[in-house]
């Protein structure tokens, strides 16, 4: 795997402290606390609607918490002068102007943080998009959009990488590439935090898990610990059984038919 360019790295944690956010009467995030450490891939796992995306938006200062706070490397995100150098985030790969080229999309973001054109070309090459850099991003496939999103996250060569459902809709080859990249970034000592509602994906990518349901912390454990007494899937369902929004009755009862 190629080098990603980061030489001197500060170890930075993500600290979430008593974070809460309600939409109307609905508590999207409910007194959530956890810490994400450098040098490993931390998975943020929970059913749809558990509050993962809302938590990530609060970490990035996009959504204002009702109470609590989130710190990156000990500081609130909006106190970072050039945040792209510290945190690289991918929230929504489709968030590009459809008629702007991939190159100009990246360049406009790079310029706000004093990042030069050379780095823009570097990240395009890193994700394999240099050949289509001048094409309109609106014509990109889902896989290409995800790669552009990851290029965006890597612009500032950040110590913290945070991705919301990065493999959603990717083909197996794309999933494999993202997995390899994240493992590599964590191996370089970066803090890697990714959300997913797919435990199978987490099992292959993450070292540590933060499991949430209905906005609350359900578990903060090493993958190895969670799988010690059986499959991750069983452990996950046991944890989240109470937290899914639309629970189904377990499995059809066959004895009744027989």
């Amino acid at each position: 795997m190629q080098a990603y360019g980061r030489k001197l790295r500060a170890m930075e944690t993500i600290e979430v402290r008593h974070l809460s956010k309600a939409y109307g009467h609905h508590k999207a995030v409910d007194d959530l606390s956890f810490t994400v450490h450098p040098g490993r891939v931390t998975g943020f796992l929970g059913p749809n609607g558990a509050g993962k995306s809302t938590t990530m938006r609060m970490i990035l200062g996009l959504t204002r918490p009702d109470s609590g706070d989130a710190l990156v490397g000990g500081r609130r995100y909006d106190q970072l002068a050039q945040p792209l150098h510290e945190v690289g985030a991918l929230l929504d790969a489709g968030a590009v102007h459809p008629r702007r080229s991939a190159y100009h999309h990246l360049l406009a973001l790079a310029q706000t943080n004093g990042i030069g054109k050379r780095r823009v070309h570097e990240v395009l090459a890193m994700v394999g998009l240099e050949g289509v850099a001048d094409r309109r991003a609106g014509g990109f496939s889902l896989g290409m959009s995800q790669r552009l999103g990851i290029a965006t996250a890597m612009l500032g060569d950040p110590a913290v990488v945070m991705l919301d459902e990065p493999v959603n809709g990717l083909d197996p080859e794309g999933i494999r590439w993202v997995r390899g990249l994240l493992r590599h970034l964590a191996g370089e000592g970066r803090t890697v935090f990714l959300s997913s509602h797919l435990m199978s994906e987490m099992q292959m990518t993450a070292d540590h898990l933060i499991v949430v349901g209905r906005g609350q912390l359900l578990a903060d454990v090493a993958i190895a610990e969670m799988t010690a007494s059986g499959s991750l899937e069983d452990a996950y369902f046991a944890l989240t059984a109470e937290s899914v929004d639309y629970p189904t009755t377990a499995t059809p009862d066959r004895s009744a038919v027989a």
């Binding site: 938006r57 990035l60 200062g61 996009l62 959504t63 204002r64 995100y77 909006d78 970072l80 945040p83 792209l84 985030a89 929230l91 929504d92 489709g94 968030a95 590009v96 102007h97 459809p98 008629r99 702007r100 080229s101 100009h104 999309h105 360049l107 406009a108 973001l109 310029q111 706000t112 943080n113 004093g114 965006t152």
Partner: protein
């Protein structure tokens, strides 16, 4: 400064910017030449040509082009959801608003200045070649520069309203409601209460910058001060709202 560079990159990397510029060139130069051509063809007498040689004839058309350009420069970020990326890169937020205002307002002012003076010079040359001259009036260059300032101001106001309402239709409605709706409302007020107010409305304050000869309007410098005030209030409010609201 770095957000200004970034906002300029955003503008120049969209084909729609070229279309807006093309529409402005066609509209301003096209309508700017009608008077000169009519006079050269003997359809109107040289005395009927205005002191600008028709260079400001396309102003209403330009208002709509500028309004659309300015509002879209902001609302396309909401429509494409790039706003979250923009605010993640600049979490203080107000520099994004300021950078966009300067990039949009500055490019509109520059383009308008070139088009108005260009249209004036072409018009004068056409009349010249037919042995005619423009009617003389005081303050013609100031009035033409004033028209460019007014269009730049509209651009600022358009971005401000667009930040507040976050939708293209809403932004255009707010901008043109203020420009064209408020004068009508002021005239509907009882007992002529609206008349003294009228001079202080944005479009009339803009007209004050462009006046040659006597009128009921404010003095040009007072018109400029009023426009500056409107822009400051709307952009200031937009910055506060942008800061407070979840993105």
């Amino acid at each position: 400064m770095s957000t200004l560079t970034s906002e300029w990159t955003k503008l120049r990397s969209l084909r729609s910017t070229t279309w807006f510029l093309g529409a402005a060139v066609a509209g301003m130069i096209g309508s700017g030449l009608i008077e000169a051509i009519a006079a050269s063809a003997g359809e109107i007498t040289p005395a009927e040509v205005d002191p600008f040689g028709g260079a400001l004839a396309g102003l209403s058309f330009a208002e709509f082009v500028v309004g659309g350009f300015a509002v879209l420069a902001v609302t396309n970020e909401y429509a494409s959801r790039t706003i979250r990326g923009s605010l993640t890169a600049v979490p203080k937020r107000w520099p994004v608003l300021a950078g966009k205002a300067v990039a949009v307002g500055g490019s509109v002012f520059t383009a308008a200045l070139l088009l108005i003076f260009g249209s004036f010079l072409i018009s004068r040359a056409v009349l010249d070649s037919h042995g005619m001259s423009l009617p003389a009036a005081d303050g013609v260059p100031r009035a033409m520069a004033g028209a460019a300032v007014y269009l730049g101001f509209l651009a600022l106001l358009g971005t401000g309203f667009a930040w507040l309402v976050r939708s293209t239709a809403g932004g255009l409605a707010a901008l043109f409601g203020v420009l064209y709706g408020l004068p009508i409302v002021s005239l509907l007020l009882p007992h002529g209460m609206g008349a003294p107010i009228l001079r202080f409305l944005p479009q009339q304050a803009g007209a004050a910058l462009m006046q040659v000869g006597p009128s009921d309007l404010l003095a040009p410098w007072a018109g400029a001060a009023v426009l500056t005030g409107y822009a400051a209030v709307v952009l200031g409010l937009a910055a506060v709202v942008l800061r407070r609201r979840d993105a």
